[in-house]
Structures are given as C-alpha cells and as structure tokens.
Symmetry: C2
Subunit: 350 residues, 2 copies
C-alpha cells in the first residue's frame, strides 16, 4: 500500500509532516510512503528524523507550494508543479493508492476534481468531517467543498457519508439526517425538501430532518447539508467552543481561590479538549473522488499527520470507494426503474 | 404607551406570563398592558398576583390557543380567534403600540405578516436575535423567519439590524457583516455574493464577509444571513453550548475531588450562564413589521416576560421603526438614482 503525503502542506510544513511520516513508517509496516515536496527543503528533516534512506520512503520533487493564504483557483492555475498538484497526479496515475495533505482544502479540492475526477455515478466530491457529540461522534457532509448544490448532490452525499461512517464508527446502517430548520418533514428550504424526497428512496437509514441542536444529542450519525451551511455549522461550532474556553478562563481567573481551582481542573479541561480534538481524527476525506484523499487541519501536529496516514490506509483496506460506487449505482438504477415504470404506466393509461 | 401581551404563549402560560406582567406593571409606570388570552383561564392568576383590578391593566378575551407543537400555517388558518391573531389585530388597529408573545415564532410571524403587514419599503420582516460573543453581544438577523430569500431581502435585513443594534447596544454605526464561508470578498454563495454588492452601497458600516468562528470574537455587531442559515447558526450554538455543559458535568463527576471542585465552581458556572442568558434579553423583535412585535423564548420565565415588555417599550421610545423606514427609503432612493444615471449614461453613449 503506497500513500503519497504532501510534505509542504499546513502551517508547520515540512517539519511536522516529516516527523509524522517518520512515526507512520515505524507504526505501520504495511504502508509505503511517497513524500511530495521541495526535495531541498525536505532533506534536512529527513536527516533529523532518521528516515533519509528509509527503504519504504521515496521522495517526489515538487518545486512550488500553495500557501494557505492563496485562493484555490489561482493557485491551481498558477502553480502546476505544486506539491498538491503533483500529489493529485500520483493518485490519478495509481502510483499512489491515497493522497494525504495537511494543507489547503480549497486547492486540494480544485486540483483533485480536475486531475483525479469523481467515482462513477458521483457528480461532486464532498468533504466529510467527523465531529464530537454528547457521546461518540457524527459525520458532517458536506463540510465546505460545494457551495451551491442540487438535491441530487445532497442525496449522493448522504450515501457516501453513510458508507464512510459505517467504516469510521463501526456502526451498521448508520442513521442519516438532513440539516434543516424544524424536525417536521415539511420544514426546510426548497433544496432540503427536494433532497428529503430523494433520501426516502435512497439505500440509507434516513431519519428525516435534524436540527442544529439535536444533532449534538445524537439525532443522527450522518448529517447531510450543502457546503455553505456545512461550513457555517463547522465554523460556528469551532467559534463557540473557543468562546466557551475563553469565558471559562475569565471566570476561573476572577479570584485567587477560583484560580487555584482552575489550575487543579487543568486535567479536566485537557480531557474535554481530547474529546473534541481533531488531532486524533487525522483529517477529513474528500469522498466521491476516484481515489482516497485525506485533508488534514492546516495546523496539524505530527500526531495528526500520523493519524491522517492511518485513516488513508484504513479507507483503502475497507474499500470505502468500491462500496460507495456500489450503493450509488444501486440508487441511480432504482430511480431509473421508477421513472421507467411511471412512463409505462402513463402509456398504459393512454 | 400600551403594550399587548399574549397571556397564552409559551410553555408555562398563562401563569408565568401574568406574573411577568404584574412585575412589569410595578416596574414601568409609563406602560399600560392589555393581556390577550382566555379570560377564564387568566382570572385565577390575576387574583394570585394581585392585579385583577389594576388600573393600567385590561384583558381582551381570545378563546383559542396556538399550541407550541402546531404548524404555523394551519394554526393561523384554523384558529382565527387565538391569542396570537387577536394580539396582532390590536397592533394593526393601533389599539396597542406593541405586541409581546413568549410563544410560537412561526405562528406569530405568519399572523403578523398577514394582519400587521410590513413597513413601507420593507419586503419581509426578519427575526433579530441578540447573541453572546467573547465580550458583549452581536445581532443575528434573520434568525429563522425567512427560509428562501433574495439579495435585496438580505440588504434590507442589514439596514434593519443596523438601526436596531444601534439602539440595543448603544453603539454608533455598528459594523455589519454577511455570514459566509471564507472572509475574502469573493467567497460565498450566489446569494451572499449579490448581497455583498448591494451592501457596499447600503447606508450601513459594512465590513464584508464574516465567518461563523470570527463572529464570536467580535468580527461584527450585526450578522446578516438568510433565515435557514441563521436558524442553523442559532440552533448549533444552542446545541453546542448544551453539549459543553454536559461534558463539563461528566468531567467534574469523574472523581470525588473533582466533584467537590465542581460544586465549588457552581457560582462560576452561574456567571457563565448569565453571560449567555436569554432571560435578560427578553426576546427577539420581528423587525420590518408595521408595528413593534417581540417574540420571547417558549420557555420564558416571569423575568424574561418582564424584559420582553421593557424591550417593546424601549423600541417604541427609540422610534426603531421610523428610523428603519428612513434608512430603507434612503437606500432605495440611492439605488433608483444610480440606475437612472446609468440609463442616461447609456443614452448619451448612443
């Protein structure tokens, strides 16, 4: 199993990436790694972490880097030899079974959509983010890849998310809900109402509309939404979590007794942090691409890089993409049959 | 100043509403109150709280109640003599200067839209919710009244929100942002991109796109969005806040030492709760209606009812609606002039 890793991705590249790769080579003997990036800039870190001549590591040179501040479109047009584009090409040519980047989500999406393309039957790849709930986690799809979508896109996201969360959380037939306003079937926008009808026919365990508050109480395992709303959902959760952290700090510092208690409670907060941590998740896959692609957080640590590599390996082993293709084709076939039977019914009526 | 109050609204009606009204009559000698609801069911509480023959209180009988579980549309069609509909009619006929209901947001919106109608120049009323940030608060508009909207609707929401938050927070020329994905001007959906262009011309302090995380850090005082995204934003914040509360409880209960610390910290948590409390806000106005209408939380306490009445009184005193009409008409005039000058330019070119 060969996994390409973008050495230049993220805020602390290439140092943390190479350190994460070194750990992954040690932890996962079944995984070969292709580091993609500026070979000159990587060399120092390969020496530092003792993997300069590791038998399961190779380096593919990519002279340019997409900076985190660059726009996706211009970076892809302007930097055809960036580590992201070169990584995507390795995935396309099957020289790598998966591509991991702790970097620029937008640029990765743009490059892989053009170079790697989508799985048969899938119109749009979507970003699937695992988020913490009261107990356990749930999958948010799409977390921000597609701003304007159709009801059919949402139905496909639901199927992809269902397959992936079955693997990720080890649950059979995970519950799937549409993020909407009000839990009743009739509530929602034109988009969610049409998607609702499609999802009633889709091969998933559809539980209907789900609201932004009940999802944290476990209303569903897969939360389906467009990339605009999904991104707002993700960022709001992030912002509010930071807000609460800030308030707690302020409150605990108000007097000396509380300050001491605050210090004593540090361990408790560390646990809270772990529960909500993205480090252990490693990253979010772009589901629906014709290849496994994991996007890590821009501020990934070596541990996050290691976990992103592990996740990529597991996606390959579990055959996530084959299962997606199978379910999506079953769904499209069902819709076709239905529309044909309607047609023949109409003809008979005539 | 006469304020109509829906005695039957909310989960604990009419008891808590009458208690809140009794306190308001005592606290605000300049406010007269018209209680709207089932006179038989109210009578007991009027006696209990000693306001049965209060000189500044009158009761208007409304035989039916819109239950919190009912759908907005059917409740309005089916119950033409509900406390919400009767309250809206009092507002329309100017027998009341404001209408306060701690009840059903959807039904209130539906009834007031039909009966009270909108202010001149305003196409849609919007729900404006005040939310807690790191320091201070910000205004979310629309928090859920309009699911599918146009860019012009968003521009009008921005103007209304700007006027209202100037009054509510006592800040001059408050910053206004569009809730979007990515802070750059070019980011967003078709809807937000078009609204962005309109807001650059609007008489507000427009700061561009704002993300769901930075808004909690004070990125803007007025956060403009459609009612679908706004409702998701609101519910997600609510859900996550509950989630954090739950985690903290679990963590603090893990061992006895921590349990004691948890108990000692109760006061700290109470402060946190106050910071995020909706009780002190009283409720959210439906801005853009041709009359002042405040919707309280369904689980309103007497204190929340009191504060909703206070808020209604202040909206009248500050002349929120007159200021909205003035700013909206200035905005529409500006757009007209612009389109005329473009036309004449084109004619000159010819």
């Amino acid at each position: 199993m060969k996994i390409a890793v973008d050495a230049m991705g993220g805020d602390y590249a290439p140092g943390v990436v190479v350190e994460g790769v070194a750990n992954a080579l040690y932890e996962y003997p079944e995984i070969d790694i292709v580091l993609v990036g500026h070979s000159g800039k990587i060399a120092y870190y390969l020496e530092k972490y003792g993997i300069a001549s590791h038998p399961r590591l190779s380096v593919v040179h990519a002279p340019t880097v997409v900076e985190m501040s660059e726009s996706s479109a211009t970076s892809i047009r302007g930097k055809k030899d960036s580590s992201i584009t070169v990584g995507a090409k390795l995935l396309k040519s099957k020289e790598a079974d998966a591509f991991v980047t702790p970097g620029h989500t937008g640029a990765t999406l743009a490059a892989t959509k053009i170079i790697v393309r989508t799985l048969p039957g899938v119109n749009r790849p979507a970003l699937a983010a695992s988020m913490p709930a009261f107990s356990g986690r749930f999958l948010l799809i799409d977390a921000g890849a597609n701003i304007d979508v159709t009801p059919m896109n949402l139905a496909e996201f639901a199927i992809m998310g269902s397959v992936y969360s079955e693997f990720l959380y080890g649950v059979e037939n995970p519950t799937v809900g549409i993020l909407s306003v009000g839990g009743e079937d009739s509530k929602g926008s034109d988009l969610t109402k049409e998607a609702f009808k499609l999802l009633e026919k889709a091969p998933v365990n559809f539980v209907g509309n789900v609201e932004g508050n009940t999802v944290f109480e476990g209303a569903c395992k897969v939360l389906v939404t467009d990339g605009f709303t999904g991104n707002v959902f993700l960022k709001t959760s992030e912002g509010l979590a930071n807000s609460v952290k800030y308030w707690l700090n302020v409150i605990f510092r108000k007097n000396i007794v509380r300050m001491i208690m605050g210090l004593l409670n540090k361990k408790a907060f560390r646990e809270l942090k772990t529960n909500g941590s993205s480090e252990l998740q490693g990253g979010a896959p772009l589901l629906g691409l014709n290849g496994v692609c994991i996007v890590g957080h821009g501020s990934s640590s070596p541990l996050a890089v290691l976990n992103a590599i592990r996740l990529a390996g597991e996606c390959i082993k579990f055959g996530v993409n084959d299962k997606i293709v199978e379910k999506i084709s079953r769904f499209h076939k069902l819709l076709e049959e239905e529309s044909e039977s309607e047609k023949s019914n109409t003809e008979q009526d005539v």
